[in-house]
């Protein structure tokens, strides 16, 4: 018998700890392994935390995510070679959702890009960050400098009371609208704050030095409307908001058109192409894609979860990519990747769960309306 020493060695690499690891544990956070980190999955319970965030304000520690700076010579051009979004004309302190594409047009990661005065600031998924860095280094010219900000923590403060709560500490954040960002200071801490998030609610994402993270989290949680919220509720909130989770609803095989993310392909880029996978992506824009990410409403109370196969009669027509119980709606919901022929809203399908067929219907997303603080609203 041989021993696989390398596999053994890899198995022994422990999870990394968040800068706020002790803070979470002290507040009753139940820690689980996620994306190579010990992360709080819940404090008092997923349901209560989910509903709290929809009604008040929830503080999420998402420091496992990758915060990356692009500087040097023409970072715009380099980034545009691997994403289908408009980067060159993105104004200072504005951000957009984009997709890192492979040469075949599959999605390697989804990310947020912000133009700042002196750099492009990216936030990428924790589970993909090292692969993203390697991919960018390999495809970008040497003159583009790529820096992982691993000394920065990242918080999200989400919910209808998030703006009031954060403005009680930093009044100027009230001036930000959805997908705008800026630099702020608070008691000697320098903060990068954007009005954005992953719950469908109004809210902010706050980047700050790891050394300040606990103090700032304490200041936020001292406000009556703010509670720490775990990964479990983060997942159910984003599912209700119809927002895809990379590695589940999107993967390397999935194109932006299949992922129902056409909005992330900017007008100029459609006309000009010139990004990785453009041939496939532009072809699918013109002729349609073979598959599409859709929402599903589920009959009855039993959740239909990731991996469940979907049928139209005897024909396998897709697979559930994430699913669960929607606390705000009191019913199960799901996202799925289905063949184009059954992607129309209202199409009746069946999901197979433990040998049993459950009726599902293709449904419009978001399941719970977004409540972003957009520019055209007051």
């Amino acid at each position: 018998m041989t021993t696989d020493y390398i596999a053994e060695m890899l198995e022994r690499i422990p999870d990394k700890l968040l800068p706020l690891d002790a803070w979470h544990r002290a507040r009753g956070g139940r820690m689980v392994s996620f994306a190579g980190y010990q992360m709080p999955v819940q404090y008092e319970g997923v349901m209560a935390e989910h509903l709290w965030t929809r009604e008040n304000a929830g503080l999420f520690d998402v420091s496992h995510m990758g915060q990356v700076l692009l500087t040097g010579e023409d970072p715009d051009g380099a980034l545009e070679s691997v994403v289908p979004g408009e980067i060159a004309k993105l104004p200072v302190n504005r951000m957009r959702y984009s997709l890192l594409l492979g040469d075949e047009g599959g999605i390697l990661d989804d990310l947020m890009v912000t133009r700042r005065e002196r750099d492009l600031y990216l936030v990428v998924n924790g589970a993909c960050k090292y692969d993203d860095l390697a991919h960018m280094r390999e495809t970008f010219p040497d003159e583009v400098v790529i820096t992982l900000l691993d000394e920065r923590a990242l918080f999200a403060l989400q919910g209808p009371k998030a703006a009031e709560a954060l403005a009680s500490l930093i009044p100027e954040v009230a001036d930000l609208y959805f997908m705008q960002a800026g630099a702020f200071t608070f008691e000697g801490m320098s903060l990068w704050i954007s009005r954005s998030g992953y719950t469908g609610e109004d809210g902010f994402e706050i980047s700050l030095d790891c050394d300040h993270a606990a103090a700032f989290a304490d200041r936020l949680c001292a406000i009556d409307s703010v509670k720490p919220i775990g990964l479990g509720a983060r997942d159910s909130l984003r599912l209700e908001a119809g927002l895809p989770l990379y590695g589940h609803d999107l993967d390397e095989e999935t194109s932006p058109v299949e992922g129902d993310l056409i909005f992330a392909i900017s007008k100029r880029r459609r006309a000009e192409g010139g990004f990785a996978g453009a041939e496939r992506v532009l072809g699918e824009l013109a002729d349609g894609a073979p598959r599409k990410r859709v929402g599903l409403s589920v009959e009855g109370r039993q959740p239909v979860r990731e991996g469940a196969e979907l049928f139209l009669g005897d024909r396998l027509v897709g697979k559930v990519t994430s699913g669960g119980f929607a606390p705000s709606l009191g019913v199960p919901i799901a996202m799925a990747m289905v063949t184009a022929g059954v992607a129309e809203i209202g199409t009746a399908l069946e999901a197979e769960v433990r040998g049993k067929r459950i009726a599902v219907t293709v449904a419009a997303m978001p399941f719970v309306p977004h409540r972003y603080h957009r520019v055209n609203k007051t």
Binding site: V41, Q42, G45, V46, M47, A48, H50, G232, S236, R301, Q302, P303, R305, G324, F325, P327, P332, R354
Partner: protein, 123 residues
């Protein structure tokens, strides 16, 4: 009447040759908010260790195994409409099913309350 426990965090309450089965307080805490329970129908037969019921929380689906062999005499139908009973009263009204024991000697392999408490402490 005596109560037994399994390493899978089920409890078994035995009265005569009828065993009532549910999940423990520890199990409901681990599961979190229960949103769906599927209990077996009357007449179904299970061997010890068979998947007998399903409990789903917001987070995940879990199987409930039959801790002993027997034939179902009743499933707790109330759980269909009130799955949260599993959270609020797991070792009482939140019971899953009752079965008629086919081999009472299987109970000897289960833990009593003291042993189970010790087992949970060690987790």
């Amino acid at each position: 009447m005596s109560r037994y426990f399994t390493e899978e965090h089920e409890w078994v309450e035995v009265e005569g040759d009828i065993a009532t089965v549910g999940i423990t307080e520890y199990a409901q805490q681990q599961l979190g908010d229960v949103v769906f329970v599927d209990v077996p129908a009357e007449g179904k037969q299970f061997d010890k260790g068979d998947e007998a019921a399903v409990v789903e929380s917001v987070k995940a689906a879990s199987d409930v195994y039959s801790p002993v062999s027997g034939t179902i005499v009743e499933g707790n139908d109330v759980l269909a409409d009130e799955p949260a009973l599993v959270n609020t009263d797991p070792e009482g009204d939140g019971w899953f099913f009752k079965l008629e024991l086919s081999d009472a000697s299987e109970l000897e392999g289960l833990m009593d309350e003291g042993a189970y408490k010790k087992y949970v402490k060690g987790l």
